[in-house]
């Protein structure tokens, strides 16, 4: 693998790791493991943990996918590996 390609892959892996950490925290973290204590905070009729489990995590997933796509398209251009 050429240096520029390794750098591209490393940058991709960094971005991936960041996105997956957020993915894990909002669903498994806020929605399951920390749901009980978070429910003490109320969002209207929702306890915050319950809200993350049934609403919030889904909205976060959406933002994550489009954010990753946007950043990757920029990386593709930066490392000149984009399609024509």
């Amino acid at each position: 693998m050429s240096d520029s390609r390794s750098a591209y892959w490393a940058a991709n892996l960094r971005l991936l790791t960041m996105c997956l950490v957020i993915w894990f925290v909002v669903s498994f973290g806020f929605g399951i493991l920390l749901a009980e204590p978070l429910n003490a905070i109320r969002l209207g009729g929702y306890g915050l943990g319950f809200w993350f489990a049934q609403q919030g995590s889904i909205y976060t997933f959406l933002v994550l996918i489009f954010f990753y796509a946007y950043r990757m398209n920029k990386l593709d251009k930066q490392f000149d590996v984009h399609e024509d």
Binding site: N12, A53, L62, V81
Partner: protein, 591 residues
């Protein structure tokens, strides 16, 4: 117009539309049969993927599970959406760059082995058939209510329609039909939800309605907690299942989503690698509309159900619904056998409460209650019964029937296509009969579809759980077998042929045997090795959640075996490096 005529009219009209589109966009070549033309826009592709993906489990079953399990059912909401993050970030762009038609094709080539390809076909068939069983349960529920026949007959009618429908078109026909089906199903799901949310809370957005107050000033969710407590049940918003089980079930559903062939296949054929990244996002946009509405549908349906049965104060002699005065929807669902009442104390009234709660049961006995009289409330009827329970107009009820059928049919068709392509394309043309003609390949695919429908329909009559739970088993199987092989194929250059084959086999077998142990061999009732209850489960892990452990087994076996056997050849390492960059992606090709 009466409800029956209206339902025939609406369901008939939507079917005419789907069949019209299928004929107009008929597949003429094998390429078009397996994958839609390259000209499908990412947004349109996202919409079709959403219809393909959201099955009877999402449409019919999920809100019912939420209604009866409350917070615990969040696992389905997070699991079936979070998988799209994995799909978009870890698989879709790379599989698109690879540019072939089927999942086994990628696995066969990346692991330079026909054995790997055959094992992948096996994994794919096991997961897909289990998935179709879940659809058949959903189709059976919808048809039994719609035609007012018993459940078994409903399944038979459903099998016939799925057969005609899936065999007729290929992927191209299915893609355009699925866009129409998405519109029907999302309309059918959200319209009653908006009505009910408006009625109960005055807020038209169900996502906000569930967090709002009702006319008496209490929050909907607080009221639900209270109602359940009054009837001796555990709270709605509290956790009942073990944390470990919830964690693993969510994980299984997520990685299963990213390992299901009929969804992955969609990303093989978008025009560019960049489109593969956003396509998954668009699919999730359309899925999220239904998934964020479902909690409100479940919660509010359960509220309305208890209000119908428990008309007055709990424990007062006139507080319960008089059986002879039961509403029409109650009578209609009794005909299907999915709702059953038994007047245990002979007072002519309906008592619905938790008779397993010893403390509460004692109190109930003092009121003259002799056990829960709603002896069967199949959770899968909740969404279909919901608009009737809420007394919505007939056209809304008819629309929901059409939506449920659209959801079940679109997914069944997509899955059957994945099964038929893996048999005709991967097994016959790829391995056993390399010189098979295009015409015979198509014919073999259609025969495989028919056989799959037969098996799934037969098992669907005695399903191993509610539609959403059967589907969860399918996800566990996909999670433990296909996802790890795909992910390591891209992210770990060191995994070789032997590692991948043994990994897939051990993950699949581990998960399958665990499921059969508690659900019966090949799901045949009566052949279970141990009763399916938490005390018997390994570390309290349910069969639905075991897929995550199976995936771990797969990863560990593959990596360890690869370390002690010869590394993959040079050209495979180059192949992996090549799929990691978007540059140079051509159109998807056959061979």
């Amino acid at each position: 117009m009466d409800l029956q005529t209206m339902t025939y009219l609406v369901v008939g009209a939507t079917f005419a539309l789907y069949i019209g589109i299928a004929i107009w966009a008929r597949a003429s070549s094998t390429g078009e049969f397996y994958v839609a033309g390259k000209g499908v826009h990412p947004v349109a592709n996202g919409m079709a993927t959403a219809a393909d993906w959201m099955s009877a489990a999402s449409f019919i079953s999920m809100a019912g599970l939420i209604a009866f399990k409350g917070y615990d059912a969040s696992v389905y909401l997070m699991g079936w959406t979070g998988g799209y993050v994995l799909l978009a970030l870890l698989l879709a762009p790379y599989l698109r760059k690879f540019g072939k038609f089927t999942v086994p094709e990628f696995i066969g080539e990346r692991y330079y082995s026909q054995t790997a390809r055959i094992v992948a076909v096996l994994c794919l068939i096991v997961a897909s058939i289990t998935y179709v069983i879940g659809q058949m349960k959903g189709v059976g529920v919808a048809f039994s209510r719609f035609l007012e026949v018993d459940f078994q007959t409903g399944v038979m009618v459903g099998m016939t329609i799925v057969f005609i429908y899936a065999v007729l078109g290929g992927m191209k026909g299915i893609t355009y039909t699925q866009i129409a089906q998405y519109v029907v199903l999302i309309f059918a799901y959200t319209v009653p939800a908006i009505f009910i949310s408006l009625n109960l809370t005055g807020n038209p957005l169900p996502q906000l309605g569930l967090g709002s107050t009702m006319a008496d000033g209490t929050y909907v969710l607080d009221k639900l907690d209270l109602i359940l407590k009054d009837l001796g049940f555990a709270s709605y918003t509290g956790q009942k299942d073990s944390t470990l089980n919830m964690f693993l079930l969510t994980l299984s559903l997520m990685i299963g989503t990213a390992g299901l062939p009929h969804v992955i296949i969609r990303f093989f054929t978008v025009p560019k690698v960049a489109d593969a990244r956003t396509s998954a996002g668009w699919a999730l946009v359309f899925i999220a509309i239904l998934y964020t509405t479902a909690p409100a549908v479940g919660g509010m349906a359960f509220f309305n159900l208890t209000q119908t049965i428990q008309t007055g104060e709990v424990g007062s002699p006139t507080g319960n619904l008089v059986y002879d005065e039961r509403p029409n929807w109650f009578k209609n669902w009794e005909k299907t056998g999915l709702l059953q009442f038994e007047d245990k104390n002979g007072d002519g009234r309906v008592q619905y409460y938790n008779d397993k709660n010893a403390e509460f049961a004692a109190k109930a006995e003092a009121w003259g209650w002799k056990g829960n009289e709603m002896v069967k409330v199949d959770r899968d009827i909740m969404v279909l019964a919901n608009p009737e329970i809420a007394k919505l107009p007939n056209w809304v009820i008819a629309l929901v029937a059409a939506g449920g059928l659209a959801a079940a049919l679109s997914t069944a068709a997509g899955l059957l296509l994945a099964i038929s392509s893996s048999i005709s394309h991967d097994l016959l043309k790829g391995v056993f009969m390399k010189d098979i003609s295009e015409k015979n390949e198509l014919m073999a695919g259609r025969i495989a579809m028919a056989a799959a429908i037969g098996v799934a329909g037969y098992l669907g009559m005695n399903p191993p759980g509610f539609a959403a739970q059967v589907v969860a088993l399918a996800f566990g199987l996909a999670a433990s077998s296909i996802f790890p092989a795909l992910m390591m194929g891209i992210f770990n250059k060191g995994v070789n042929r032997t590692g991948a084959v043994l990994g897939m086999l051990s993950g699949l077998l581990f998960t399958l045997i665990y499921i059969f142990w508690f659900k019966g061999w090949f799901f045949v009732p009566g052949t279970e090795m141990a009763p399916n209850k938490p005390a018997n489960w390994f570390l309290g892990i349910s069969p639905e959640a075991i897929g995550a452990v199976g995936a771990l087994v797969n990863f560990v076996v593959a990596i360890v075996v690869s370390k002690i056997t010869a590394p993959p050849p040079e050209h495979i390492q180059h192949l992996v490096e090549d799929i990691r960059v978007p540059k140079g992606a051509g159109a998807a090709t056959d061979h």
